[in-house]
């Protein structure tokens, strides 16, 4: 069970959160302009990184805010959290 430092509420137990997968996959502004290939890329294809990954988490059972987390998926260590819309920290 991780401890996640919600950028709004502070450090809380993992059970209050839910993961939203990889971050910075922006929903295309004009989906109809995309080929099936490009749409599938948005919809399904993931880097699924082993190592430092930028991802989205939601403080589901707290403030209900979505935010970003920089986590190393090879050891689950969280390096940083930042709010939606904020620039990701440089590695």
């Amino acid at each position: 069970m991780f401890l996640i430092n919600c950028p709004y509420c502070g450090e809380r137990d993992q059970s209050e959160f839910s993961s939203g997968g990889e971050a910075h996959i922006v929903r295309p502004k004009q989906p109809t302009e995309l080929s099936d290939d490009q749409w599938a890329e948005y919809l399904f294809m993931r880097k699924n990184i082993k190592g430092v990954q930028f991802e989205r988490w939601n403080h589901t059972h707290g403030c209900r805010k979505w935010f970003n987390v920089v986590r190393d998926t090879s050891n689950d260590i969280i390096h940083a959290v930042y709010k939606m819309g904020e620039k990701p920290p440089v590695k």
Partner: protein, 417 residues
């Protein structure tokens, strides 16, 4: 030729204090070049190599394994084998595997202890009943031996299940596939390894792939911790680490790798002689030949390569176990572990060519790959040897995620008004 295993060979060797047994497989250094390389020495990878050699006469091949063979999900799963899948494509795939399981010990001359003790899936709400009946009807018409059991029949088949109508989610029935069961996971990897090795396949352990060298859209070979190895064809069977290999050639796959946990109790005398699975009350349990209750927990909902999941998942699983089997409350958890499973959005695998000539992926088995081991190896070998899928794995291509033609085995989300 390897010496054949039998009771007679055991007796013979007893006289020499078992000091004359041959190696089960060699420990070769990699050659400079192979006709094909399989990355990943788990059950699926070793089976692929075995069938490439056996059925397609490709013996100048190697299996490269980062650690020790069978050390990934092959050695970490709860060994459930069944083929009662809903869609025709899945049923075809898994029943092909099940049929291979039925003769596997003799085929490999290695007792994989395939035990057809039956697998029962329980229904706990009305939508469960609809879904399981739908599956049972489909199975029957597909020639798969699944039958529907009502609550009394469930109780009769496995008397220790709490079928009281008073429990929170009473058992409303279930399906039973009698040909289904369990097998000894390590033996599968070792049996295939021994068989493949005997036909000349090099099994190279402690050899991590660091890169894949390509020239445009064609392959040249792999960079490994034991040097560069040339290969015309490469089959990737690295389960949770599929994306790691895919990222080496900038290939994105529709996969997420998540921790899946399992646990065993201390061993006890036989108390449950079948496999019982419940989706709604998330509890999977069987008993190993050693007497341990083997319990499958769920996956965590986040990507992780740590082989360790959250305690909450284990707690939730045991809560479900005690709901269905309150007699197990005083049993003790002996060992708990995790594996990394690669999950496709439609909960079906990928056994497919890629846009890079000679590069093949066998992945996305999620939480249920063990049962498919022989079938997966056979079909993947076919795909690699012929550069074309077999008709049984044609539907499990990567392109389905582009066209939308998924093989969605999630079933209904059990939502109702």
């Amino acid at each position: 030729m390897k010496n054949k295993y039998s009771i007679f060979s055991l007796i013979k060797n007893a006289f020499s204090y078992h000091e004359n047994w041959q190696r089960a497989w060699r420990d070769p250094e990699p050659k400079k070049e192979y006709d094909a390389i399989i990355i990943g020495g788990g059950g699926h990878g070793l089976a692929t190599a075995y069938y490439l050699a056996k059925k397609h006469s490709m013996t100048n091949i190697a299996v490269v394994e980062k650690g020790w063979i069978g050390g990934g999900n092959t050695g970490r799963n709860t060994t459930i084998i069944r083929s009662n899948y809903l869609w025709d494509a899945s049923a075809g795939l898994y029943d092909h595997a099940l049929k291979l399981w039925e003769g596997l010990s003799q085929e490999l001359n290695y007792n994989v202890m395939f035990s057809q003790r039956g697998v029962m899936n329980l229904a706990h709400n009305l939508q469960d009943v609809r879904d399981l009946k739908r599956r049972t009807h489909a199975n029957r018409l597909n020639g798969i031996d699944a039958v529907w059991l009502n609550t009394d029949e469930v109780k009769k088949f496995c008397p220790i299940i709490n079928t009281s109508p008073e429990i929170r989610y009473p058992v409303l029935g279930g399906t039973l596939q009698r040909r289904a069961g369990t097998a000894r996971h390590d033996a599968v990897a070792w049996g295939y390894a021994r068989g493949a090795d005997a036909m000349g396949v090099d099994i190279i352990q402690n050899c991590e792939v660091k890169g894949i060298k390509r020239n445009g859209d064609s392959l040249e070979g792999i960079e490994t911790t034991k040097g560069f190895i040339k290969a015309k064809k490469i089959g990737v069977v690295t389960a949770g680490h599929s994306s790691v290999i895919a990222n080496m050639v900038d290939l994105k796959l529709p996969l997420e790798s998540k921790p899946l946990q399992a646990l065993v109790s201390e061993p006890v005398k036989p108390i449950i002689d079948t496999v019982v699975m419940s989706n709604a009350v998330h509890a999977y349990v069987s008993q190993s030949d050693k007497g341990e209750l083997v319990i499958g927990a769920g996956t965590d909902a986040y990507v992780s390569y740590t082989q360790r999941g959250s305690h909450d998942v284990v707690e939730g699983t045991l809560k479900a176990i005690l709901e269905l089997y309150p007699i197990f409350s005083r049993m003790k958890m002996l060992r708990q572990w995790g594996g990394i499973v690669d999950i496709c959005p439609d909960a079906s695998p990928i056994i497919s060519k890629t846009h890079i000539k000679g590069l093949y992926f066998n992945c996305g088995w999620g939480t249920g790959g063990f049962k498919a081991t022989p079938g997966s190896g056979d079909l993947f070998a076919h795909t690699i040897a012929n550069d074309e899928p077999h008709k049984l794995n044609a539907d499990f291509n990567i392109n389905r995620f582009i066209s939308g033609d998924l093989v969605d085995e999630h079933g209904a989300a059990a939502v109702a008004h």
